[in-house]
């Protein structure tokens, strides 16, 4: 049948023959305004694809989501037997009707098409991520280590001389060897040999075991290249051993992937370490930002990008701390990153939340000098200042730990919105320089303070109501239909914040020290607070929002309009992405309800 667009996802996953079969089975249904097409809780005999008109997805309480032409519904009711919401025609609506048996047949035969109908968004997302790979959208990073050119493994006995090792390298045209020394296996590089002879003036007859190191960093040959990159970044190595089934097979060097690979994040840690001045660090800061975009273009998953970026940002601040802090502060202080940076979820830098806790009194002049120098440096790097002034320069956020614990106590007693927000920010703190003990002490004091304080927890939880439940478009759709503007949704308010804050609330109640939201969710699942399946859904939904947020942030950067950084325009994404977004928002709604009933938010 003509007029059915098989280029529209997920139908673009069908073969020609499959789409002909689909077309042959199509009927068309008409629905009058306010007609309930699929009632909540019922199944349906058809997958509906809107031809014209609009369909509201109503769940009774909130502003409905609106489906328009080319959107399809409802996979859940069709495959899993019960619609999650009411589907109601909002105006005169025509839909293609694809009979259930046709859809089920296609699901059975076509895995890519089937992915659209998975009940769990985590599976759906993974399937679509794989799809992207199959389409060749992303490059080298998703290749496996074994697919990269790598250097052969040559073994030498630990008792062999440095001279022999050198010749062995030359003969094999490589510059790293595995050293077998009894049970241990180490690695020696050409550079190790040179240093041993030139700098340490060891005789050429010295056993090679004296020149090599045994803390081998290795990667499995079936791992992804991006994991290799992550390892290199983390350990500041430019060469990894490749292993498989307990044997070393060779070396993977950065230049092996560098040529294939537009990014160079493994070089950034070196640049940070080598930095001798604030200006050197500023250059590294810019590198961190540009690689975020590069990695995103290469199709790297947003959680991996966030992990890499957080790691680099932490190194940067650690180094900056070393450069700007006088010795007294370096010894007594613990530098904290908070907010999204503390959780390791920041990709594009939006603000800075940092603090310093001191485990003893320091000279006031030293502290003042450090506050000034640190702040000026961050300004110079172009870090946007924190609107709430949650920064080292603020005395509240740079004081001895005992005083800070008293401050926490004051906030707990105050319990107003600002105090509660401060507690929330502090809860995400992660120590990046100095001893982490003071931070743990302060956090445990906080857990002690809130234990059993139902009213405070409830106030804390109530921040989740700060932003109303999002509408995925009613007003927007009307606006769009009169040509006034496209649909848009604020990803931060609609998705990220409710998840992050709800999880944070549960974490403070349960005294969970971990800061990343996904790690907290895992801890909550282990503690039996969240169902494992729902925990997975929540993590996936968070990643969905992070991915969309990163996209709109990069667009905002290009347009130079950072105030729109979390606004996602619905006309800029595909119908499948809209569907995934809808699923993710559904998870948020469920989670909000859970938090609401757990903390009795009805009273607010």
């Amino acid at each position: 049948m003509q007029g059915f667009d098989t280029a529209n996802p997920p139908f673009d996953r069908l073969t020609h023959q499959e789409s002909e079969e689909l077309r042959a089975g199509l009927d068309v249904g008409y629905f009058a305004p306010e007609e309930v097409i699929i009632p909540q809780g019922s199944s349906t005999d058809w997958l509906h694809v809107v031809i014209k008109g609009s369909v509201e997805v109503r769940d009774g309480s909130t502003v409905p989501t609106v489906l328009g032409p080319k959107d399809s519904f409802d996979a859940r009711a069709l495959v899993h037997g019960a619609a999650g919401e009411d589907f109601v025609a909002a105006e005169e609506t025509l839909c293609h009707l694809i009979p259930r048996h046709v859809v089920l047949g296609l699901i059975h035969r076509n895995a890519a098409f089937a992915a659209f109908f998975y009940a769990e968004i985590s599976r759906k997302l993974d399937a679509f991520a794989q799809q992207r790979k199959a389409e060749g959208m992303d490059s080298v990073l998703r290749a496996r280590v074994r697919e990269a050119r790598c250097r052969a493994a040559v073994f030498i006995d630990g008792g062999a001389t440095i001279e022999q090792a050198g010749h062995c390298m030359k003969d094999n045209d490589i510059n790293a060897l595995f050293v077998r020394d009894g049970q241990r296996i180490g690695v020696v590089t050409g550079m190790n040999l040179s240093k041993a002879v030139v700098l340490r003036r060891l005789p050429l007859e010295t056993a090679v075991r004296e020149a090599c190191h045994f803390d081998v960093v290795s990667i499995d040959r079936d791992d992804f290249l991006f994991e290799a990159l992550l390892l290199m970044t983390k350990h500041d190595k430019r060469r990894l051993a490749i292993h498989s089934n307990g044997d070393y097979l060779g070396f993977l060097e950065d230049i092996d992937i560098l040529g294939l690979f537009a990014g160079n994040s493994q070089l950034i840690p070196g640049r940070i370490e080598r930095a001798r001045s604030i200006d050197d660090l500023a250059a590294a800061t810019r590198d961190i930002q540009t690689q975020v975009e590069r990695l995103h273009r290469q199709g790297i998953k947003v959680d991996v990008i966030a992990e890499m970026t957080s790691d680099l940002n932490r190194r940067l601040l650690t180094h900056l701390f070393g450069m700007t802090a006088p010795p007294s502060i370096r010894e007594a202080g613990s530098l904290l990153l908070m907010g999204s940076e503390g959780r390791g979820e920041q990709t594009v830098r939006t603000d800075q939340d940092n603090a310093i806790l001191l485990d003893r009194d320091v000279p006031a002049a030293d502290l003042a000098r450090f506050r000034e120098a640190f702040t000026v440096a961050l300004d110079g790097f172009g870090f946007p200042p924190c609107p709430g002034n949650v920064m080292v320069r603020n005395p509240v956020w740079s004081q001895p730990v005992e005083d800070f614990i008293r401050q926490l106590k004051t906030w707990v007693l105050q319990g107003d919105a600002e105090a509660v927000m401060n507690i929330a920010i502090f809860l995400d703190a992660e120590a990046v320089a100095g001893s982490a003990d003071v931070l743990t002490r302060a956090k445990e004091a906080l857990f002690e303070l809130v234990r059993g304080e139902a009213a405070l927890l409830s106030r804390f939880a109530s921040l989740i109501e700060t932003f109303a439940t999002p509408s995925l478009g009613v007003l927007g759709t009307i606006m769009a239909s009169v040509g006034a503007g496209p649909d848009a949704v604020d990803i931060k308010k609609a998705g990220t914040f409710p998840i992050v804050h709800g999880v944070r609330t549960l974490a403070i109640e349960k005294g969970i020290l971990k800061t990343p939201t996904v790690a907290r969710i895992e801890a909550l699942v282990r503690a039996g607070i969240l169902e494992p399946a729902f925990g997975r859904e929540l993590s996936s939904a968070l990643h969905v929002f992070m991915e969309f947020r990163l996209r709109s942030q990069l667009q905002a950067l290009h347009r130079g309009a950072m105030e729109t950084e979390s606004i996602l325009r619905l006309d800029g994404i595909t119908t499948v992405e809209r569907d995934i977004l809808r699923d993710a928002l559904r998870v948020v709604r469920q989670f909000r309800d859970l938090i609401r009933s757990r903390y009795h938010l009805g009273a607010f």
Binding site: Q2, G3, D27, V28, Y30, I51
Partner: protein, 222 residues
């Protein structure tokens, strides 16, 4: 009244009593949308070269069971008609003779009312063959979509209102996407979409605003 008498007459003189079902009422909530492509606009000389019919049951358009046929005409289609429906002599030659198609089509239509856009033309074209075949004309009730549209949009309009009953205007007024025109099946489908929406609006007493801007496209066939 005239048609009822005529139908009684045809029923009595029906040559082939196997086609009596045409005079029995069809299933209660079903109609059939009919569209013919022809070699021209004169029923006396021109021929049907393609036909499509789709049953509407309630508010469902049963496209999966649509009837489609290309008919091999005795006449070569003139060049000007080829421009309209894009069926060349070669395509038409690949079709089947009317005496094969017609019994199938009549069985498909049954006693259901026939819906169409300028439906009288399509029925008149078919009657040419039907009369020869069963010595009767199609007795089915006819439903004209442009008439429902007229009533909802122009009913009670002040004198002098410019009427626009063009197919494209109805489509865009109802927000129905335009499929490739002058393909018998597509035309029938679009007509079916118009019909389900118009009859629902009529039932609800809804009207079509006359001030609504109608997107006009290039004239048909241009």
């Amino acid at each position: 009244m005239g048609r009822r008498l005529r139908n009684l007459f045809y029923r009595a003189t029906l040559a082939d009593h196997a086609y009596r079902f045409l005079f029995e009422p069809g299933p209660p909530d079903e109609v059939v949308v009919l569209d013919c492509e022809t070699t021209g606009l004169n029923p006396r000389h021109d021929e049907v070269i393609a036909v499509a019919a789709i049953v509407i049951r309630g508010s469902r358009i049963l496209t999966s069971e649509a009837y489609k046929a290309i008919i091999r005409s005795d006449r070569v289609p003139p060049p000007e008609s080829i421009k309209v429906h894009r069926l060349r002599a070669r395509d038409v030659a690949a079709g089947r003779p009317m005496h094969e198609v017609l019994p199938e089509l009549l069985r498909f239509i049954g006693g259901r009312p026939i819906v169409g856009y300028y439906v009288d033309f399509d029925v008149r074209m078919l009657d040419k063959y039907v009369l020869r075949f069963i010595e009767a004309k199609l007795p089915n009730r006819r439903i004209e979509v442009s008439e429902i549209y007229y009533a909802l949009k122009y009913g009670g309009a002040p004198p002098g209102t410019v009427l626009d009953l063009r197919f494209q205007s109805i489509l865009s007024d109802l927000g129905i996407p335009s499929l490739a025109l002058h393909d018998a099946f597509n035309d029938a489908l679009m007509t079916a979409m118009m019909y389900v929406q118009l009859s629902d609006m009529r039932q609800r007493g809804a009207r079509i605003g006359r001030d609504r801007a109608v997107q006009q496209e290039a004239p048909v066939g241009a």
